[in-house]
């Protein structure tokens, strides 16, 4: 199994979720994060001074999926989250060794 961890723009969350649902994903976990990258952050003004703020609000979507769903999942996120502008984010794929469903104790792909 894999963990697909995608960093996306917050206003894209809704579309990403829908796209994942369409490809049959039944679960995901979302975290508010701040990202630093080529997008460069922004300047803020505070009482006559300027500050460079390097972090931009992002949302992280973690999806654990079976190996054979991987391509679909990556694809779904890629399409839904893309605006074509800098800062659209990344998708990371990490190996997952085991999954359990707490409610039932089920393991492996059945637990998803």
């Amino acid at each position: 199994m894999k963990m697909v961890s995608a960093i996306v723009k917050p206003f894209k969350l809704e579309e990403v979720k829908e796209a994942l649902r369409v490809v049959g994903i039944q679960g995901m976990t979302v975290t508010e994060t701040r990202g630093f990258g080529r997008q460069r952050g922004h300047t803020e003004v505070y009482r006559g001074s300027e500050y460079q703020v390097d972090f931009v609000p992002k949302v992280k979507v973690d999806v654990i999926c079976d190996d054979d769903q991987l391509a679909q999942v990556v694809d779904a996120i890629m399409t839904a989250a893309r605006t074509g502008k800098i800062g659209d984010g990344k998708i990371f794929v990490l190996p997952v060794e085991q999954v359990y469903r707490i409610r039932t104790g089920e393991m492996g792909p059945d637990a998803l």
Partner: protein
């Protein structure tokens, strides 16, 4: 001739302070309802009105509304820059200093355009807003205030329509509500609306804002008696009861229809009731205030519920609450008003005077037509000159960063000074 009275003066001073406090209250009420990326932009629209409108009202707004009448249409320039507006009383309020009457009126002028901003929250360009605000305040607010209260054709001056508007049902709420509709039509929907749920980011802030509005409304309506007397008591009682009843008027259908009496519903209902009672507050019995408030809550609930079907994006329901609630109030004033409560008022339909209902209708229609057309023209001109809507990128980024270079809520770390 009545003399200056310190008690009356004390109450109108306190009322002016209360009405001023409503504008920040509105800022929080609206600010809590938007997404967190737009909270400062939303708050700023109200807060900035305190700055710009106050200065403009001092220069021209007050005199256009309350200066010597010119053709029943507009006030003359005698009070421009508040010349002669001092410690001596003025005919409209013979027991208090003129400057106290003026500052009380100034607070109304500030909050009225601020009300409009809720309708186009999350998408208006600040530069465009500044221009719209300045023009609307002078070209729409002052004339309408003059018509109703300043000796113009809708009020009680000789030959006037003699519509009843105790504290601003037409001047403030219908006026702002219909201008809000103009803005919505002109500016269009937010991206994502209505498919996505655009949810309020901070509901306690909404309740705090609504509570400040309620608190301040005692000055708004109670102070409109222009003295500390039984009439002020009447208006104060009516105001409170209408707000209270409107909570029930909103929550009952909501509880039945959606199985949930919501906190935002209670707050919105209260505001709807306060809007509805505004024109009536000094003219009706307490039981009538309860009915008007309940009707305000109920009708606004129904109207706001239908909004998704109507397909326009009134972000924070300014039309649904201020326009609809304002009309409910203006018309029911024509039903429930009674000379038994206020000899300076009139009897309504229920007391055998259907003519008053018609007068109310005339005032509503006149305000609606003028304000709608004038607002559209101002929007058009402003749009051509500086633009009224933010770009799509700016809308996504949020008003706070794109219009004001600020972030509302910040966790520690991650920034460095730029030594300029």
């Amino acid at each position: 001739m009545p003399e200056m009275d310190t008690g009356d003066t004390a109450w109108i001073l306190a009322s002016a302070a209360l009405v001023m406090f409503m504008t920040p209250g509105l800022a929080l009420f609206y600010g809590g309802l938007v997404r967190s990326k737009n909270v400062l932009g939303t708050i700023m629209q109200s807060f900035f009105a305190l700055g710009l409108v106050s200065v403009l009202f001092m220069m021209f707004g007050y005199t256009l509304a309350f200066g010597t009448d010119v053709g029943s249409i507009i006030g003359g320039l005698d009070f421009a820059f508040l010349r002669g507006v001092g410690a001596e009383p003025f005919a409209n309020a013979p027991t208090i200093p003129h400057n106290v009457y003026m500052i009380f009126q100034m607070m109304f002028a500030v909050i009225t355009p601020a009300l409009i901003t809720g309708a186009v929250a999350e998408r208006m360009k600040f530069k465009g807003y500044v221009m719209f605000l300045a023009l609307w305040s002078i070209l729409v607010y002052s004339p309408v205030a003059h018509w109703v209260w300043g000796g113009g054709w809708l009020g009680f001056a000789e030959g006037g329509v003699a519509a009843l508007d105790f504290a601003g049902g037409t001047v403030v709420h219908i006026n702002a509500g219909i201008a809000a509709l103009a803005c919505i039509i002109y500016m269009g929907k937010r991206k994502g609306y209505p498919q996505e749920a655009i949810r309020p980011h901070n509901v306690p802030m909404v309740i705090l804002g609504a509570s400040i509005l309620w608190f301040g409304w005692f000055g708004f309506n109670g102070g409109s008696a222009l003295g500390a007397n039984g009439l002020a008591g009447t208006a104060f009682v009516a105001t409170h009861l209408a707000a209270a009843a409107a909570i029930l008027g909103w929550l009952i259908p909501e509880w039945i229809q959606h199985k949930a009496p919501t906190t935002i519903g209670a707050a919105t209902g209260a505001v709807a009731g306060l809007v509805a009672i505004t024109p009536a507050a000094g003219f009706v019995e307490p039981w009538a205030a309860v009915l008007i408030g309940f009707a305000g809550g109920l009708v606004c609930y129904i109207f706001v519920s239908l909004k998704p079907k109507l397909g326009y994006d009134d972000s924070l329901d300014v039309v649904g609450v201020h326009f609809v609630g304002g009309i409910v109030g203006a018309l029911l004033t024509g039903v429930f008003a009674t000379l038994a409560v206020n000899e300076a008022g009139a009897d309504g339909l229920l007391y055998g005077n259907p003519g008053q209902f018609m007068k109310q209708l005339i005032a509503v229609v006149a305000t609606v037509v003028y304000s709608f057309v004038a607002s559209m023209v101002i929007l058009f001109v402003t749009d051509k000159l500086v633009g009224v809507r933010v770009s799509e990128d700016d809308e996504q980024m949020g008003l706070d960063l794109s219009q004001h270079s600020e972030t509302a809520y910040t966790a520690e770390g991650g920034g460095t000074s730029i030594h300029s």
